[in-house]
Point group: C2
Chain length 140, copies 2
DNA sequence: ATGGAGGTTCCCGTAGCTGGAAGGTCAAGG
DNA sequence: CCTTGACCTTCCAGCTACGGGAACCTCCAT
């Protein structure tokens, strides 16, 4: 199976598959012509990666998850801890965004949004309180 | 005023200030020795940037906001639209994360988290449904 | 004179890919 | 047999918004 078929079967773009090989998440063999030859097991790992990335796990989390998956002497405790930590980070991020949302929504509500230049949003940005340098992470 | 004082006055790290100059958000003059010389207005713009970034606006949003701020013939409508779009993106992100959270929480709850290898989390990752390649953005 | 606390530029690294260039390979059609 | 087009390959650049650190310069106080 070459990369195009593996992409179709796993749901991942070919570019992503090459990247995953580069960082050592999969090790497909090669045909004589240099083409990658994906075995069923490779495709299975790719689908596993597609799903774990889809749940928001980081690449390093995924690496650990693949390791646990391959180890049949694993303790489910280890898997659960990894997922629970992930959940904690998601919750932290949601809280951060909700706080942001409240502030921005307040400003939007306060602005008339008409043709005149007076704007409480700009006034707040220009004169509001300075907090320590601490950014919300980018949205995308 | 040199960069250290400007940093203290605006709440931004010196590194960030240099970066903002590089991408054209500020244009401080230079002293004879090559040191940046920040005027009150520069510091004001920096504080403005600190606050707008703190509300999660992107750099390009901040550039636009600074432009609107400097233009006293602006319509508050334009400012409001920018902020409202930002709010929309925040809400979209929150929804995305809440959906993620629900799924991950379900898996965490289902896992015994003991010393045995059986784990519904791994089972789901290994055999769950494949969705189109569409990632949640990284958390950080 | 000297030491240290500032300042300067420049380049690399971050996460996780995506896009594109330059080129090799394969199967089908003329 | 040759060509066309769809594949495949590698490599390099770029994305966000900076932070770390090197190598070097400048100022001020002792």
């Amino acid at each position: 199976m070459n990369i195009g078929e593996a992409a179709a079967a796993s749901g991942l773009p070919a570019k992503t598959i090459r990247y995953y090989e580069e960082i050592g998440l999969i090790r497909p063999k090669r045909d004589g012509n240099g083409y990658r030859a994906f075995a069923e097991d490779d495709v299975h790992r790719l689908a596993f990666l597609n799903r774990s990335r889809g749940l928001g796990f980081s690449i390093e989390d995924c690496r650990a998850l693949l390791g646990l998956y391959a180890d049949d002497t694993r303790a489910s405790e280890d898997v659960k801890r990894l997922a629970a930590d992930h959940l904690t980070r998601i919750d932290a991020r949601i809280s951060e965004l909700q706080a942001l949302r409240a502030t921005v929504a307040g400003l939007v509500d306060a602005c008339a949004g008409d043709g005149r230049p007076d704007c409480p949003i700009l006034e707040d940005l220009a004169t509001g309180p300075l907090c320590a340098h601490q950014r919300p992470k980018p949205l995308a």
